[in-house]
């Protein structure tokens, strides 16, 4: 019973997140995207716990330790899914350089796109500018008088970056 409840509740929340974020994100500036998706996932996770706790106590009358356990596992499942969604589909389609290159070439599929034309439209300058805007929008970096610095000492994105660096060293040390 608890098993089925947990899976069903998690799937409902995931579907709810997917539908809601598609509606809401149409109105969000793309530079604010990462900040919003983290906030959105946190808020929905917390609302999910509140709803789940009330539901389990009132309808199922479960013991508190079981309620807490199920809420904790729900968060693991829900946020686990969000992480893979953000890193894969969301991240790749919105921020990927490869996808942007493909997109530019696709727009000129009939006549083709030369390297010089491509570099004129999309180059290190546009990439760095876009990413700085995104990092500032996410609150990771601050800008003052043309100088950039880290805005917060602790951030999930920074820790994610450190993990990527470790993984990169591990996978490429012997190749």
């Amino acid at each position: 019973m608890a098993d089925q409840y947990l899976i069903l509740f998690s799937i409902i929340n995931i579907l709810f997140f997917l539908v809601l974020h598609i509606i809401i994100f149409r109105y969000i500036e793309s530079s604010q995207v990462m900040k919003w998706i983290v906030n959105f996932a946190l808020i929905q996770g917390l609302i999910g716990i509140i709803v789940s706790t009330l539901w389990q106590k009132i309808i199922y009358q479960r013991a508190w330790e079981n309620i807490l356990l199920l809420d904790f596992i729900f968060l693991l499942i829900f946020w686990g899914f969000i992480i893979s969604y953000v890193l894969s589909l969301f991240g790749i389609t919105i921020t990927s350089i490869r996808i942007q290159l493909l997109s530019l070439i696709c727009a000129r599929q009939q006549e083709g796109l030369s390297y010089s034309e491509l570099i004129k439209k999309y180059n290190k300058r546009s990439i760095v500018k876009t990413r700085l805007a995104r990092l500032i929008g996410a609150g990771e970096i601050s800008s003052s008088g043309g100088v950039y610095q880290i805005a917060k000492p602790f951030s999930l994105f920074l820790w994610h970056t450190y993990l990527l660096v470790i993984m990169h060293k591990l996978l490429h040390q012997t190749s």
């Binding site: 899976i7 356990l69 921020t95 760095v128």
Partner: protein, 178 residues
Amino acid sequence: MIYILTSFLIFIVTVALQLCLHIILVKYHYKTYKTITLFLLGLIVNILILVNIKSIVLYRTFIQPQPSWWTLDLFWSSIFLYLIFTLDYIVFFTSPYIGDESPSSKILLHVKAKKKMTYQEIERKFSDKDLIDKRLSDMRRSKLLIKSNSKYFLLPKGLLLMRIISFYRNLLGWKLLG
């Protein structure tokens, strides 16, 4: 809880084994993505162990009818959680495996190391060769695009990918990308 902990432990062991296998294979100059299939083996082992735990717990239920939070039957949730963790890991593993360095991560690390940087200092850390050329070559090798008469065209695989991506982008209504 025991079901969840078991799934988590099996996941950790599978990650360790996959990384070790990858490192060993690369030492012998054989780089392959197929080591990811170890997680399928991990799933099978996971299911077998959880089935055994379920039998033991069921037997004990006859002696102690009230399940505690430790023995609460979460068989399917544990499998689901293992799959979610596996998906997270595969997504996380893929980018360093390909060798792509995220420009955002690179900016963050440089700014953190130097404490303060101007825009020009940040831009100097990048080159079109690393950001654009390398990716174009990769995509030619993956048969997503082709270079013909000094111009780039998408191949059918690339066109299909773009159709899917465009659909998703239109759903979100986004224009500023990359």
